[in-house]
């Protein structure tokens, strides 16, 4: 299914490129080169391309988890972007205010601070869902925009601004930097380039630990059982003694912490300050595609994150080499989402005689099914059944 969705997107994407007068082979060659360092025509360095893809992949893994975990509880977290920004803002604020602290204390402080900020941001949606039944999709959309405007305030005329007119924050203290794997040296040559150009940082390890924590939490703990139970049927979960309200709030808090961590890692590992590029950041929205395409599993999330990381890194090379707008990547991403959501290929296959029968009942969409549970449509009625 996931592979077919990606294939579908690339086929339709090729049609879009052809119709608009481009050459799809050139386009995809550019993507392949920029994403995986394969089939480069303009002498790009394959190692550097792969390194760039990994840098893009890191926040997609953690935010992918932040979308996938609430999915299991029947919650749709489209606020990963706002939570990521909250984490990035908290990390930057702490990294600036406490810039003279030693790294052993400062680095954990900024990362945990980012996680807490993300948790609060998502927690608002969780509490509203659990107490008054406000739909988390709507609240997280609103919170995304609140975070975006707060970010603009902070770095344009606000307390974190570097200097007037820069649209940048002050840099965080050196102690808050996440180390890169390779030394930041301009003289040491690795694969023909100075070691400092490879920006792969320790955040990769943190992201992989995060996705492992997600898997263990979901399948090996009682909280994970409660999350899955609430996602299957709130009524059944309640009979099994699960407090659905508590589960909703805790799930959102944890999800927000993952997103906030992604934002903090981006600041600590890559940018070291907030800039206007965060105004148009889409990591938290890409994460929705990552979670859906990865079928909500740990391995799937990592693979899907690599795919989208490669697409993002590849888009720039495609634009430079083949002259095709990197926005094609967004088109591909939307097509993947349509395809997964609608289960197009399944529907088409079933309509071809001999391959199967047309479904009499709605075909359960593999992941979308989690959204169609009671939790996604009705506010919890806990108070009426337990007392």
């Amino acid at each position: 299914m996931p592979f077919a969705s990606v294939l579908f997107a690339f086929v339709v994407g090729a049609i879009v490129v052809t119709v608009t007068g481009g050459n799809p082979i050139d386009a995809y060659q550019g993507l392949l080169c920029g994403g995986l360092g394969i089939a480069c025509t303009q002498g790009e360095n394959p190692a550097l391309q792969i390194a760039n893809t990994i840098v893009y992949t890191i926040p997609l893994i953690t935010t992918g988890v932040a979308v996938a975990l609430p999915f299991r509880a029947g919650l749709f977290n489209i606020g990963a972007e706002g939570q990521l920004l909250a984490g990035a803002m908290a990390c930057t604020a702490l990294g600036i205010k406490l810039h003279d602290w030693p790294a052993v204390i400062l680095l954990p402080t900024v990362l945990v601070g980012g996680m807490l900020a993300g948790a609060v941001w998502a927690g608002i949606a969780g509490v509203l869902k659990a107490t008054v039944g406000a739909h988390e999709v709507v609240t997280t959309i609103m919170l995304n925009y609140v975070a975006q405007w707060l970010l603009r305030f902070l770095i344009i005329g606000g307390p974190l601004e570097l200097a007037e007119g820069t649209s940048k924050s002050l840099p965080i203290g050196d102690g808050a930097h996440l180390a890169t794997f390779l030394p930041n040296s301009d003289t040491l040559q690795i694969f023909g380039l100075p070691a400092s150009v490879y920006r792969v940082h320790v955040g990769l390890v943190i992201a992989l630990v995060a996705v492992a924590v997600f898997a263990v939490l979901l399948w090996r703990t009682s909280l994970g059982y409660e999350i899955r139970a609430a996602g299957q049927s709130q009524k059944a979960a309640r009979y099994a003694g699960v407090s659905v309200r508590r589960t909703i709030i805790v799930t959102m808090l944890i999800a927000g912490a993952f997103s906030g961590l992604a934002g903090a890692i981006q600041i600590a590992g890559v940018d070291h300050n907030l800039t206007d590029k965060y105004f148009s950041d889409t990591t938290g929205f890409d994460a929705i595609a990552v979670a859906l395409l990865g079928l909500g599993s740990a391995v799937g999330i990592v693979l899907a994150a690599i795919l989208f990381g490669a697409l993002h890194a590849g888009g720039a090379v495609m634009q430079a080499d083949a002259g095709i707008s990197s926005s094609l990547v967004l088109v591909l991403q939307a097509l993947i989402l349509f395809s997964i959501a609608a289960n197009f290929l399944n529907a088409i296959r079933l309509r071809i005689p001999g391959l199967g029968q047309a479904p009499s009942a709605p075909a359960p969409a593999a992941v979308g099914a989690a959204l169609m549970t009671e939790a996604a449509v009705a506010p919890p009625q806990e108070g009426t059944t337990t007392t």
Partner: protein, 316 residues
Amino acid sequence: MSAITDILQLLVTANLWQVAMVSAVLLLLPALGGVISERSGVVNIAMEGMMLTGAFFAVWADLNWHSPWIAVLVAMIAGGLMALIHAVVSIRFRADQIVSGIAINIFAAGLTVYLVRTIYGLQDVGHVVPAEALPTWDVPLLSAIPFIGKVVFQQNVVVYIALIVLVLVEIVLFRTRLGLRIRAVGEHPQAADTAGLNVYVIRYGAVITSGLLSGLAGAFLAIGVSNTFVPNMTDGRGYIALAAMIFGKWTPRGAFVACIIFGLGEAIYANNSTIHVSQYLLSMLPYLITLVVLAGLVGRSTPPAADGIPYAAGSE
């Protein structure tokens, strides 16, 4: 204190309300689209993308044919086609309507920038200047009324169209058989089906209508207000429209009140020179107000019962 008196002084000027009306209409059209779509039971968070698509194609058509009216038509068709995708995916394929809505918004953001680059060869921040703008028109006699004349009757033609659409949607939804059918399909599709209504046709019609209205709003933004196309120029207006729809409890008149409030806010912070608060903090207000409304602090806001649930004939 002076900030408050400044705002109060601003609030009695017709100029402010005239600007607020334009901002409000940019939100009202997609909000009305949202009301129609969700009343029929299809969650629509894709107004942002439909509006953005409309904005691009309005400029594109205006440059090609030098007629704002053809541009409006093309923008509405473009918005309608985006809505058709949402309708096919979420009604025919019974996909998750939120995923489909997100996909529409990403698709629109990508496609419009892709087309700007491909057709006009411009960078991502490129501006496309349209040939002919939508005209303003002073309504004879009425525009001479003090205050109200300036606010309501000295406006862009799209403002008049939007106000007429508002009245039409209110009447159709709550005073006609068609409106009853739309609401029945959104509240209890099984019962509506049993009563002989075609749930699918009504939902398709409602979703496509939301695309037409969002496309019109996009055209107004691009060739009525801004006279340019900038990537992502809708800047969250489709989502504020969503907020207005919820704030207005899924009714056209409620959404209109919300749009006026949000529009006034936008007009006030456009006049920011007198108010010493960051415009960025003020920009949060529509979203914060909506959160407060959702928190139930200003009365409950409940969506139609079958909103967001795909309908399969014969299922329970």
